[in-house]
Amino acid sequence: MVDNGSQPSCHAGDIAQQQQAVNTDLTCLIVQLISTAELTDGTVGGGIEIDNVVEEQDTKDVDEGGDAGMDGENLPPGSYELLQLEKDEILAPHTHFCAICGKGFKRDANLRMHMRGHGDEYKSPAALAKPPRDASVENAVVKRYSCPFVGCKRNKLHKNFQPLKTILCVKNHYKRSHCEKSHTCSRCHTKKFSVLADLKTHEKHCGRDKWLCSCGTSFSRKDKLFAHVALFQGHTPALPSEEPKASSDQAGLVGSQQEPAKLASSIDSFMWGNSLSNDSALDVKGLESCSDDFLSTANYGSFNFSFGRLDEFIGSSSESSFAMLPPDHFQSAQKRGGN
């Protein structure tokens, strides 16, 4: 084990501590050395400096205060092995590389599948099998990771250093804290994330169960909203389809008062079958005619949709509604409308 760039431990008392730790873990370290050496042999040529991963191994910086709450496991500084990956390494999507052709893979299983193409020796069950987990279970050395970004609290050089537990933690931490956020929530269009998994978690909760008051305040729970409404005069809960109006004095009547004005104009556009004035044809005539006819086809035409259902029909333009009528009736309706 070569100490590359390791820092000399300065304090006498700590040296003893350090040596103790080293002694107790010696066997395991040797085992690890052998296994990592194999790993190094297997993945050379990928252009990625995995050597760094393995060999850059710092002795614990015993100077660190800030032990409190570290890992939540109270790992004393001397008891774990600290690794630091490089930025490129962390951000790289591929972590496993073919030794022969250098193709990169995200998962070890995919790499093993790929290796089959390089010859029969890789098709043996031993080569295809997942590397046994027993080794990692027996491996008593706890690994922790340091963030390469200097100044970050997760960086080994930091005064209150808190290491990260796994490579995945490092990746997520680095992306979240030191990278720009490129993924945006498609619902609220405001929240941005750098890690895709975070975005997905957010989208589960985004826009759901928003309790709004007419003053614009939003609440996470219904009883909170109601307590707010009970407290203030003039506030009402805002129904989801309406936007919260900035109602000041009126007791929440502002919103609904605006609607009838709009209604008058919208009536004309909606009621192609019925109308306010007696001029447009399809309405009263259609109704009167069907009172006399037995099975009059005028019944088909004089639709009087109530608005609630009209939404579906209007949305897909009135042509589609007319499509239900026989074509000659449509023309006759048009003619009557032209009168």
Binding site: K222, N304, F313
Partner: protein, 648 residues
Amino acid sequence: MSREGRRLDHGGGGGDDVAGGVGVLVLSLDLLGQVLDRLRDPRDRKACRLVSRAFERAEAAHRRALRALRREPLPRLLLRAFPALERLDLSACASLDDACLAAAVAGAAGAGDLRIRRVCLARASGVGWRGLEALVAACPRLEAVDLSHCVGAGDREAAALAAAAGLRELKLEKCLGVTDMGLAKVVVGCPRLEKLSVKWCREISDIGIDLLAKKCPELRSLDISYLQVGNESLRSISSLEKLEELAMSVDVSRCDHVTSQGLASLVDGRNFFQKLYAADCLHEIGQCFLSKLATLKGTLTALKLDGLEVSDSLLSAIGEDCVNLVEIGLSKCSCVTDEGISSLVARCSHLKKIDLTCCNLITNSALDSIAENCRMVECLRLESCSLINEKGLERIATRCPNLKEIDLTDCGVNDAALQHLAKCSELLILKLGLCSNISDKGLTFISLNCTKLVELDLYRCNSITDDGLAALASGCKRIKQLNLCYCNKITDSGLGHLALLEELTNLELRCLVRITGIGISSIATGCKSLIELDLKRCYSVDDAGLWALARYALNLRQLTISYCQVTGLGLCHLLSSLKCLQDIKMVHLSWVSIEGFEMALRAACGRLKKLKMLSGLKTVLSPDLLQLLQAYGCRIRWVNKPLVYKDG
């Protein structure tokens, strides 16, 4: 108005000189209006205005209430014809929808001309929030709105109503879409609310009721029956100082959210409390509630404790505490005994309404006590009290001349009992279902004296024949609701007698296998007010009957013709002619082809609101027809019943 017209009215008097006019024209418009106000029956008023133009003008200027049956004339009526209109009833208006409602009030919005104060839109399922918004904007004096049974109504509709700041009474019974949010909108928008009913709006919870209690201090009457509310709501409600009436019945499945303590805290310290309807709320009544009842000594007038396990001591305590009780409901309460009833009525001599449905331990001695003490009793419900017979009823009939309603379904009633009951000449409602000992003789007794009878239920009284109906038609001319299901001795001639009943509105004739189209024709021509007709399993009724209905029964709104012998032609004609028909049940019409159904349903699709058909038709009818029906707001019930012919 033309000169000629005026001259006709005068009958030869001077030209424009009104003062010198003859007859009605002597009176001013104002006085004529007052005369019309005193005419109770709308048909009398109609007769007046058809006879004289002066009356017509007076009526138009003074008319306060309108019940529209068709929607086409609404704009003219509301905006121009009746300027003084205050009460508008649109519950029976066929095919009423948002566009129509908005159009009807469109001219008045802004000018605030409409003086309408009360609007009834019960069961108007085509009306949504747009129509309601237009209505509220046009009627600034709106005080009372009834939106009951509009099952599609939801929070947006409630929000529309919240714009009526002066609203005092609101009924949202069975508006299933209304949640706490809608209720909150209403209570914030209408702080002067005095009467509110949200019965069956199961989405409302304690949170909504709590806000209601905080925002509407004027509330006097509240109905929260069948909601998922518990003691929390009771606590909130107890802060309403002016509350007088509370109805909070729950499902028979027994709501466990309410305890006796909750009810006790509600009742505590209340000075004005008058009515408490708490059916099925409690398993047993605790001492705390009982003791609180004593505080209501003077004021409690109505108490409903259906489904409760009572005891004699409890009834005695109630009798002692609440001496002013006018209405007591003990329907389906267990352990109601004669002694309990005696101790109850001994002190509550003002009782007018006594409900003892399914209290099957009751015997004639209980009736004796009631007859002895409660001389003013008007409504007596004794369904399934099978130990009762004519002796007890004799006492009641003799001592209680004010009896207006009596329910004796499934009791041991015979002709002798009816002879006694006939002494109650004020009788309005008589229910004799499942009393197979009754025969034409008993009916004759009734018809001789009970001329005011309005509702008669003879369900499964299979000894009734045509002669009984003849007696009925000659004596009880005001009958509106008549149930003759399974009285299978009735034939067409009996129906011919029924044709004399001009006020008949609801008629149920299930499984009368002997009646044919002839009988139905006579009903259709004679009963001009017919609204509901049930002909299920009248196997001999054919197209002829339907033709008659299509031609004459133009007010018909609800019809059941399942299992009848009708063909597609008859059905098509029926559904295209009856403009008011909203609800039709036609299961197992085996002679109607698929094309027949298609044509018939297309002809009526704008008007139908409820439809019941065999589920096999669901796959066979064209999908765009079903879509069309749904678009018009029609609810279709598909049933899967085997085709079995029953006799009774």
